[in-house]
Amino acid sequence: MTTQATMPHPPAPQSGRDGFAQLVRAEWTKLRTVRGWVIGLVVTALVMAGLGLLTAVGGSSSCQSSGGGPARSGRACGPTLTVGPGGEPVTDSFYFVRQPLTGNGSLTVRVTSLTGRIPPANGNPPLNPNVSPDTRPGLVSWAKSGLILKESTRPGSAYAAIMVTADHGVRLQGNYTSDTAGQPGAVSAASPRWLRLTRSGDMITGYDSVDGTHWTQVGTVQLAGLSPTVQAGLFTASPAYQSISSNFGGGTSGSILPSQATAVFDHVSRSGRWPARTWSGDYIDAAGGSGVGGYHQAGGRFSVTGSGDIAPVIAGSDAGGPILTLSNLLVGTFAGLIGVLVIAAMFITAEYRRGLIRTTLAANPRRGRVLAAKALVIGSVTFVVGLIAATAAVTLGAQIARHKAYVFPATWTTELRMVVGTAALLAVAAVLALALGAVLRRSVAAVTIVVVAIVLPYILSVASVLPVGVLDWLLRITPAAAFAIQQAAPQYPQVTALYSPGTGYFPLAPWAGFAVLCAWAALASGLAVVLIRRRDA
């Protein structure tokens, strides 16, 4: 009998391509033809976006209840925050001894002392740190005093300043967010600091010196569109004293109390046109600080006392009303993640449970490529789900929230990073779940492990139920580190604050945190490929 002659069809010609596209198409067909998974993905997107929108609405309602007056439109109900030249919310509260300066010019001074008073270490907050006997001598780390050149006395106006600080040496700061280090070390009578600020058009240059003879340029600050006449002079500010302690078993508690600082200046010299001839003292935005401040002039010697800070506002800090960041609007990510992880793990464990994996692997004996196709499909699908949900939460949520609450501004690049990053977080986490599913071959075990590894550290950290140090490390080494991709507001080294996941700050930089998740996913995928090749199906 001639086999070939009686064969109805010869075997299909082998395609020239390697057939990976066919494999991807097959896996996509598998995913879309299980209705439960499709519904699950849709629900995941809805819950994820919905929780964000609820947060937006919730932020508004708490505002309405505290209102009581006639309905106001726009952002009137939110806290009225001072906004800096860059559009970001700022604190601009300090004591200012000033004169107008017209045109170019410079101001030079020697600082011989920076001292202050801080609240008692343990005890009740004093009613007024200026008069209370409870305060003790001391400085907060970023107590600052020096020369400032400012567009006007309006809080939030452009400025450049060179200053001595308690613990961070000489700094040149400008427009609230920039910060450049100068000479290190603390100031004292034995080790004074000379400071100089020079205006030339839009460019403000800061210099420091230890002897008034040898000067070092610290840096320059450009203040675009600066008026011909500006206010320049001496200033002192002292940020709030924060004592934060994490409690055993959960939560942080602490107090944020005003502090004050006093600096002593001499050898004040000016060049350029200073039409007023005499100095006048003002508290800028007294309501924003403790209101403590003043100055004393005796001959060429000035003593300036102040409180408050000239710095960006940190998201999550008490600003007297509802403040939302875009991170808050993405709060549903953890819920979306759970849905995605379950479906991604089941995408392979369901095949093991039913024995269907044998059909899959018999149809495609190159097993590593089967896993790769599955990862590509589940990763792409969850990326799209995450992208839709995150876009809806951030754009719609911000629209809703902006009517009633203050939404922390973010640049479009930050917004893009958060939305795309959240989608990528879901996608890579899905690949991790798939890989673990392939390693463990059991739905429950795989889902439990990935949820514990990714979602649990995040929930623990947001709920602050573990000491901050432990949470910090959890968010560095577990796959949950990837939530750093959702950090909306930058962390400023020149501002002391409780930068916690609960307020939208993460220990790792956004893409570094995301890389931790990618590393875990790569590790699990590598293990999955080795095992699926080696094991009997």
Binding site: M1, T3, P11, Q14, A350, G355, A362, P365
Partner: protein, 314 residues
């Protein structure tokens, strides 16, 4: 591609259990090869090794002269039905076939063709979870036929089928062989393969104990045996056993005699004046032949008392 399966010297251990112990046989095109043996004899393991799902510790398994894992679009070379229950229950039969087709670069048209071939047109869009075992077997057949392969391999395809389905399956397997395909069908029940298989590979304890055509096997099992019908059963047994024959009483008035030619039996009975009403050459059933072959290979078998045949030898 030559439509053959060649298995040679397969060995495989699962932990301490020796599943395959030198399994060797060849499946030829144009015939249905029955793959029979008691449960646990290594039939399913052999099939998984052929498909590259399980790795053998030793030996080779070739499909059309090539190892299965080296095949591109393997479903166009080998169609296999291993486990009819291996389905995602919430996926419809048609969608199950569709992803399988996509993985091989085949189209939905091919899917509809095999659905018709397996007689599933009316239920193809229903969830496979609601299928009876018989319907799942048909779906498994459809999946095996997707790539129109020259080699087919089915593990216990008759399981769960109703009588009508069994008739259909037999005809289907015969027609596949008639088209020149190589068809390997495993079963632990020989009766299922009666009138279906042309060739048999009988396995026990992980190796092939017979690799023969059905005709030869039956002839071997029937050889030299004579059925004698007599009312004087015990006298006949005494006479014939005394003459050196092996005599088994199969019924109240029937004896199966072997070891003596028919003429000698007639003469002996005549000499001793034992009357008999009928004497015919014995025709063994496939079941009987199989039982004989696997007698020593069945690992967990019932007490000998349950055997229908009692034997007496001198």
């Amino acid at each position: 591609m030559e439509a053959t399966i060649e298995v040679s010297g397969l060995r495989k251990k699962f932990g301490p259990t020796l599943a395959l112990d030198g399994m060797s046989f060849t499946v030829q095109p144009g015939q249905v090869t029955g793959f029979v043996g008691p449960n646990g004899a290594g039939k399913s393991t052999t099939m998984r090794v052929i498909l590259g799902l399980d790795a053998a510790d030793d030996g080779t398994a070739l499909v059309g002269g090539q190892p299965y894992p080296s095949l591109r679009h393997p479903l166009s070379h080998v169609g296999a039905l291993l486990d009819a229950a291996a389905l995602q229950p919430s996926r419809s039969a048609r969608n199950h076939l569709l992803w399988l087709a996509h993985s091989q670069g085949l189209t939905a048209r091919r899917v509809d063709a095999v659905i018709e071939q397996a007689g599933l047109q009316t239920v193809a869009r229903r969830k496979a979870g609601g299928y009876s075992l018989g319907m799942r077997q048909r779906l498994g057949i459809a999946a095996a036929m997707l790539g129109d392969p020259p080699v087919l391999m089915m593990d216990e395809p008759f399981n769960g089928m109703d009588p009508e389905g069994i008739v259909w399956m037999r005809g289907f397997l015969r027609s596949l062989a008639g088209q020149g395909r190589a068809v390997l069908v495993s079963s632990h029940l020989m009766s299922e393969l009666q009138d279906t298989a042309d060739h048999l590979v009988v396995v026990g304890r992980g190796r092939a104990i017979a690799d023969t055509s059905v005709r030869e096997l039956l002839a071997a099992a029937s050889r030299d045996r004579i059925t004698v019908r007599t009312s004087a059963r015990s006298e006949a047994m005494t006479v014939l056993a005394h003459a050196g024959a092996t005599v088994a009483a199969t019924d109240r008035d029937t004896l199966t005699v072997s070891g003596l030619p028919p003429e000698r039996v007639v003469a002996l009975l005549g000499e001793s004046a034992v009357t008999f009403s009928e004497m015919t050459p014995h025709r063994a059933s496939l079941e009987e032949a199989y039982m004989e072959l696997t007698r020593d290979e069945v690992e967990f078998r019932a007490q000998p008392a349950a055997e229908p045949v009692e034997e007496a030898t001198s």
